[in-house]
Amino acid sequence: MRIVVNIEKCTGCGQCVESCPFTSIEIKDGKAFINEYCQLCRACLSVCPEGAIIEILEEGDAVETDLSAYKGVWIFAEQREGMAAPVAYELLGAGRRLANELKTGLSAVLLGSNEEQAKELIKWGADKVYHCNDAIFDKFNDEPYSQMLVNLIRTHKPEIVLAGATPIGRSFIPRVAARVRTGLTADCTALEIDKDSGNLLQIRPAFGGNIMATILCPNHRPQIATVRPRVMKRGEYDEGRKGGIVPVSASGITCRTKVLDTIKEASECMVNLQEAEVIVAGGRGLGKPEGFKMLEELAELLGGAVGASRAAVDEGWVAYSHQVGQTGKTVCPKIYIACGISGAVQHLVGMQSSDIIIAINKNPEAPIFDVATYGIAGDVYEVVPLLIKKLKEAKA
């Protein structure tokens, strides 16, 4: 496919120039000219008032592959020290929904770990678990993980494969996509099925969270995506769910890297923040480090943890380990209370899938109110102390 300008029709009005997200259109000699920055995103097609920008199909555009041979939704269940990671259960939740919509099955791939964990995956929604308990998978190494998954994909031909956008998933899944010659969409925050084509719509932030993009992989299978942890909801746990465990062999798998040592460094706060049911977060609006003392008190009353915007961290009022957002943690508590946070996209991407968002901000126009379940336009130093007082009274 190519995007071209019909010079006859083009009036050189320049509207397309502004519409282009990649600054790939210039006006040359009074006509629009598309340079090599063009990413074929089609944004300009609809803005041209003259209909002068058109899309031309070229030979070889429609690749003939038998896509119908690929069936079923797979999730990769990563494990650390034998335990399936929480993201595996979130993927089962997302995968179940997609499988139901496509009227197909849901399978999990578990490399390393034990049969107990494989059974757990079934209770959380898998119909089938491909399990290889070879010791080569105990520690994470990219080559054996990718070789094994490639083998399984080639043999069983799933149509969709999801993995966690964790250091593990984001490291070895690209090798799998390169090898089976298919598309891979990184760090998705939403997944849907296109009603007409049945293709997977993979939605993800780009440009540092400033825009969202919908990515398709129309002519290759499987469609592979890594999915941001703590964004998808877990499926239903069902003690009685039945499923099959398919043991697979690691014969022929090789490895040229070796994990010599594993060092744990997780700070307590990090763990708290990501597991907390309630997070009380503060931003620049607190104005001073003492504001966080107040938030700590509120968090303690609600049995929660303290989060922060980058601005508050940059001011030095609170440690980086508390930062929520693009360059901090992604959290998904039941309740997120944002105090004096404006709601910049980079902050929102880290917390907007919280169940309930309560925003307290002086400025009634602050963007944080757009994502809030409940908003209070007011001063944190009036609202929060009163809230603390009343909660204490209620407890007494």
Binding site: S171, R175, R256, Y374
Partner: protein, 260 residues
């Protein structure tokens, strides 16, 4: 020893905003920079060079303007550069980008390949590992420290969610690096002079020996369907009244949620 560093020229995303009416990026006046993570990759290469006398070649795939990124790399101390550029490369996703880089790297010879953790425009972090797979060499992602570079092996620290792993690999190897690894140096005066004078060698599709079906848009399995502004507006549910009333109402809601 030959070290290859892959760098990408990107728009400075901290200055990119979206136009809410048209759902497109406003890139007016947004400067192009070397992807910040890639500067750390260049620095790591230069440090290995200082220890072992390795040769550092910096490559980029991009439009002719990406030459600026290569000149900057020379000013930091790179020995050689290649601009991998061809109209046929336009519209490449990570598969087609890595394929072109792999074809070029194969022509150059390598012991260590360094990439940034991810590019700040697409944030995919996929190109490094994909290049390694095409070359059929091991890779280690998210390197925060290079402990030891030997003749046949390398020992590094790989950042994980809950700490780090110490990993050893045979050479050749591809590493992707995070910011904690080092502090990129500033160009020296001598470097700047060299950068100005340098003749930038280009490699087009023929030079790297790639097929049209494997590069650019044609070689890309993924397509960008559309882009849009991040947040969907919901109805603002403001709690009105005096502070007292607001707090009372909030506590009622919290009770309803069994949180109090």
């Amino acid at each position: 020893m030959n070290i290859i560093v892959c760098v990408k020229q990107v728009p400075d995303t901290s200055e990119v905003r979206i136009n809410p009416e048209t759902n497109t990026l406003i890139r007016e006046g947004v400067p192009s920079i070397i992807n910040p993570y890639d500067l750390h990759a260049v620095e790591a290469a230069l440090q290995i060079k200082e220890k072992t006398g390795a040769k550092v070649t910096v490559i980029t795939m991009g439009p002719p303007q990406a030459e600026d990124a290569l000149r900057e790399a020379i000013s930091m101390g790179a020995d050689d550069v290649r601009l991998i550029s061809d109209r046929a490369f336009a519209g490449a996703d990570t598969w087609a980008t890595s394929h072109a880089l792999y074809k070029a790297i194969e022509k150059l010879g390598y012991d260590i390949i360094l990439c940034g953790k991810q590019a700040i425009d697409g944030d995919t972090a996929q190109v490094g590992p994909e290049v390694a797979e095409f070359l059929n060499i091991p890779h280690i992602a998210y390197i925060r420290k290079i402990e030891d570079v030997g003749d046949k092996t390398i020992k590094v620290q790989r950042l994980m969610d809950d700490g780090y792993d110490v990993v050893e690999s045979t050479l050749p190897v591809l590493l992707t690096v995070v910011k904690e690894l080092n502090t990129p140096r500033l160009p020296s005066l001598k470097g700047k002079m060299a950068a100005k004078k340098a003749v930038i060698t280009k490699m087009d599709m023929n030079a790297i020996g790639a097929e049209a079906g494997n590069v650019g848009l044609k070689g890309s399995p993924t397509q960008v369907k559309n882009i849009f502004a991040p947040q969907s507006k919901v109805d603002r549910k403001m709690i009105e009244g005096s502070v007292e009333e607001q707090v009372e109402a909030l506590i009622r809601e919290l009770r309803g949620l069994k949180c109090v």
